[in-house]
Each structure stands twice: as C-alpha cells, then as structure tokens.
C-alpha cells in the first residue's frame, strides 16, 4: 500500500461505492414491476399468513367433532358453542360465593396470578441482579436454585397451607415460588453477559456503582429480564388452574373442578379455551411491552 495516497484497495472501494450508487437506478424498475400487484400482495398475505392458521383451527375442530361422535359423553363444537354463548351472555352474575359468573372466575384467577407474579418479580429481579453481579453470591445461590427449581409447583401447596393457614395465600404462594425462578435466572444471566467493553468504559470513567447499575447494567439486562418475566407469567398461568382445583373458592381452576362435579363437560371445554386465550393475551401483552423497552 502506498504511503498515504490512495491505494488500489481504496480505488476498489470507490469503484464499489459507485456500483452501489448505480443500483438505485435499477431499483425503480423493481418497484414499478411490483406496484400493479397491490391486490396480488393482499392475496399473498392471505395465502401465506391467514390461510394456514385457519386450516389448523379447522383441523382441530374436525378432530374434535370426530371424537365427539365416537364418544357420546364428549360434546361437539356446536353444542359447546351454544353453551359458550349462553355462558358469556351474563359473565358477571353473583348468586353465591360458590356460584359466580365466568368473568368473576377469570378475574379472581388473574388477581392471584398478579399477586404471586408481582411478588416474585419484586424479589426475583433484584436477587437476579445481585447473583449476576457478584460471583460469591452466584456460587452461594447455585445449590439452592438447583435444588428447588425442579420441584413441581404443587408440592409447595401443603407448605403454603401450613404456614398461611388459608387457601388463598397458599395459592398465591404456589404462584410465587414457581414464577420466581425464570426471573432470577434470566436476570442473573443477563448481568453476567454484560460485555467487558462496557465494564471497561465504566472503569475508565470511574462510574459509581449506582451509575453502573442505572446506565449500563439495567439497560443491557432489560431484554433478558423481559424474557424471564414472560416465561414467569406463562408458568404462573399454567399453575393457577391446578392450584385452584386444590384450594377451591372462586377462580377458573376451581370452576373447572366444579363443572366436572356437575358433569357439565361443555363448560370444561370452554374453560380450556378461556385459559388458553387468556394465556395467549398475557404473552402478547408482555411481548409488546418488551419491544417497547428494547433499545435496538
């Protein structure tokens, strides 16, 4: 390469950049070629994005119908639909503590999940930061997390009942203990993955621990943390049905059990759909929230 003049490589880059600037001239051709097919674009979206999920749902309905024909006790889609219309026409009635509308049941479950999950976030996220930041803490926490995390959430219920001596706090306790692990672990992993470059910047600038946490660690860890939050809420919503079946009261889980005792199978199937849809909505809400916080 010549001293400081322009070398062959430089000329190459200039030539290349000319080539790339020449390309936009070719681009309008592509655009005009694509323009008349605005309708075609819509049909493509329909075939690629709408049709396959519709097929999937239809297939599910078909299998369900088929099974319901074989097994006379299982109601088919049509009778379930009629039952659902009736059920959702009055979702917020309140006849007695054990006979409330589906809306109240969903609300009660969401409240428990919110409480248990909120407490788990309140404790789990700061704990994750501490574990990720200090190796000593990480090594200290490793056996505890390793031992307790694989335990089935419902195994904690008797402990909750024993300590709190009431069903409702026990259910919240089960949600708490099963939702806390993903938040601790994901936050800690995020903190431990902060690039050394950023920490070197912090060192060279002599930033205070508070500035390190607010200006470097927190923004970097946020996406990891949100993954933990999403996993946690998923687990919490999974566990609530089982927990409520055991503790009773108002809630979607207990409602399923109640309808099983009434042998109202339509309502059980409706409950399955309700649990699925609410879980999906929670997931979607948190995914869009996570996107808001992403710096990229």
């Amino acid at each position: 390469m010549s001293a400081i003049g322009i070398s062959k490589e430089d000329i190459k880059t200039i030539m290349n950049s000319e080539q790339t600037t020449a390309q936009p001239g070719a681009a309008p051709k592509l655009v005009t070629a694509a323009r008349p097919s605005a309708v075609a674009l819509k049909t493509r979206i329909f075939f690629q994005w709408l049709l396959p999920p519709m097929f999937g749902l239809l297939l599910l309905g078909a299998i369900w119908t088929l099974i319901s024909h074989q097994s006379p006790n299982l109601p088919g889609p049509v009778s379930t639909w009629h039952s659902a219309v009736e059920l959702f026409s009055d979702p917020f009635y309140n006849n007695s503590p054990n006979d409330q509308g589906i809306g109240w049941n969903i609300a009660a479950s969401l409240e428990r999940v919110g409480m248990g999950f909120g407490l788990a976030a309140l404790i789990g996220i700061p704990l994750g930061f501490i574990i990720g930041r200090f190796q000593f803490m990480s090594r200290m926490a490793a056996p505890i997390i390793g031992l307790l995390r694989p335990v089935s959430p419902l195994a904690w219920l008797p402990i909750g009942l024993l300590v709190f001596k009431a069903a409702d706090p026990a259910a919240i306790w089960v949600i708490f203990i099963s939702a806390i692990w993903p938040m601790i672990i994901n936050t800690a992993v995020g903190v431990s993955k902060v690039p050394q470059d950023y920490m070197n910047v912090a060192k060279v600038l002599n930033l205070s621990e508070w500035k390190i946490v607010t200006k470097i660690l927190f923004p970097f860890v946020l996406p990891y943390m949100m993954t933990g939050v999403r996993l946690s809420i998923g687990v919490a919503w999974l566990v609530i049905v089982a927990a409520e079946m055991l503790t009773g009261g108002v809630g979607i889980g207990f409602w399923v059990w109640d309808e099983w005792n009434n042998l109202n199978v339509e309502h059980i199937i409706i409950a399955i759909f309700v649990v699925g849809i609410v879980g999906l909505l929670l997931e979607l809400a948190l995914t869009s929230l996570a996107r808001q916080f992403s710096y990229e």
Partner: protein, 268 residues
C-alpha cells in the same frame, strides 16, 4: 507563555506482565522500560499478539503489572482514572444512549462536582462539535456509521480533558478512506489540545504520520521494546506532501524493516 514540559510524564519501569490462565501461565511482557514526554504523541507498533494493547491497558490502569512500576505525572498508576482517557478499538459506546448522552456520562463524572448542569451540557456540546458531529448529537450509535461512532468515542475521551489520551487501534475497524480522514482530524485536534497521547496501531503509515516517536515491540511471548524511532517531521503534516518526502519514506521503511526483517513473525 511556554509551559515547562515534563520529560518523563508517563513512565514505565521494569514492567513485567504474566497472565495466569487455566492453560497455565503466559508471560506477555518482560522488562518494558520507556517514558513519554508531556505533549508527545507516541505510537506503539508490533505484530498482533505482541502485547501492545497490554501496555496500553497497563497505562490505563485496567490491568496491574505482575511486577514493575508505572507512573503518570509523578504519581503511581493504581487504577483507571479520568486523567487517562481511553478510545477503544470498537468504540464501546453504550447503544441505549444517544451520542451526546454517551459524552455527557463522561463529562458528568469528571466535572459535576465543580460545575453546573448548563456548563456540563456546554462541554458535551463543544466536544461533539469538535469532532464535527453536531448534526448527529441526538442519534443512537446504531444509527450512525462506524467512522462517526469512533468520532463519538474520541469526543467522549477528549471531553474529560485528560492528561493522557490512550488510543487502542482507534481506526482499525474503519475503511481506508474514513481512516485517513479521521487521522487528519485527530492530528488537528491534538495540535489544538496539546495533550499527551499513546496510540496502539499495526498500521505503519498511521504510526509515522501521527507520531513524534514510535515504540516498536518485539514478538511475544515475553515481548519487550525492540527499538525506538524519533519521527522528526515538521507539523502540521500533510499526507499528500509527505507521500513524496524522502525522510518520511525513510522512516517508513525503517519501521517496515523492523517488522518484517529483524522481527518477522513466524508463519502461523
């Protein structure tokens, strides 16, 4: 008024650096001795893996020597400090902050004890303007080009008004044209600020063009200073004029001979 410049502003005395890794010990530097005059621009050049970045990190205080002493302005270097600002090779800007916020973080740390918020903002703005990025001050690092990112890195370092500016292959990741442009700008900025600078590079032209003195390092392991070369070229320097300057070309070939004849790297 001419200030009396210290002969040995930055000083390295018998510095040894050994890394202890899982695979065993690795002796990176052995008996490194040199000093830098106040206001001087020094380049450290050598083949990759020779420990030139280690020398820079030692001066920055990011590493502690296994044995030996380092001094800056008469005081022992005990750790990183804002009087020794670093421009990192990969710019190391925080991606969630805008360009001016990145600079402000440094300014705030150094001057917030003695100045008002308005003064801090002015300093930030001045640093951004110095590197010609006023139009991109509110952009995030991923919205600007590699050359612009490196300018913000330089602005961040200069805004701290360091005594010593440490540059770790600052233009290594840039294309040739952007690199030349930024080298010219750095020369102009350094002439204005008059601060001492240490730059690690593997680019011979860059070293000769920018430096007052070139420190050439032998190959590792146990690398040390091989030779020193004084670059007695008048400033301001013009790259086009120098391209045909015989003394420039002589200096350039001196460095090349050191790198490829006397200390050629064994084929990897």
């Amino acid at each position: 008024m001419e200030k009396i410049l210290q002969e040995k502003y930055v000083q390295l005395e018998n510095v040894n650096m050994t890394f202890f890794t899982k695979k065993g010990t690795f002796e990176a530097l052995k008996n490194v001795n040199f000093s830098i005059q106040e206001g001087e621009f020094i380049s450290i050049i050598g083949h990759s893996g020779c420990g030139k970045s280690t020398v820079l990190n030692l001066i920055a205080g990011l590493l502690q020597p296994t044995s030996g002493n380092l001094f800056c302005a008469g005081r022992e270097i005990a750790g990183p400090g804002p009087e020794r600002a670093v421009v990192f090779q990969n710019h190391s800007l925080l991606p969630w902050l805008t360009c001016s916020e990145n600079v402000y973080l440094a300014v705030e740390r150094v001057f917030s004890a003695s100045e008002t918020k308005i003064q801090l903002k002015k300093r930030t703005q001045a640093a951004i303007e110095l590197v010609g990025l006023a139009h991109a001050a509110d952009k995030r690092p991923n919205e600007i080009s590699g050359g612009m990112k490196q300018r913000v890195g330089i602005a961040r370092a200069l805004a701290m008004e360091p005594k010593v500016l440490l540059l770790d292959e600052p233009f290594g990741a840039l294309d040739a044209l952007t690199r030349a442009h930024l080298q010219d700008e750095l020369m102009a900025i350094m002439a204005k600020s008059g601060c001492t600078a240490v730059m690690v590079t593997h680019d011979v032209d860059e070293a000769v063009l920018l430096s007052d003195r070139i420190v050439m390092m032998t190959n590792g392991p146990a690398a040390t200073i091989g030779e020193m070369l004084d670059v007695e070229l008048a400033r301001p320097r013009e790259r086009l004029e120098l391209a045909e300057d015989s003394h420039y070309n002589h200096l350039r070939s001196e460095v090349l001979k050191f790198l490829y004849e006397r200390h050629a790297r064994k084929a990897a």
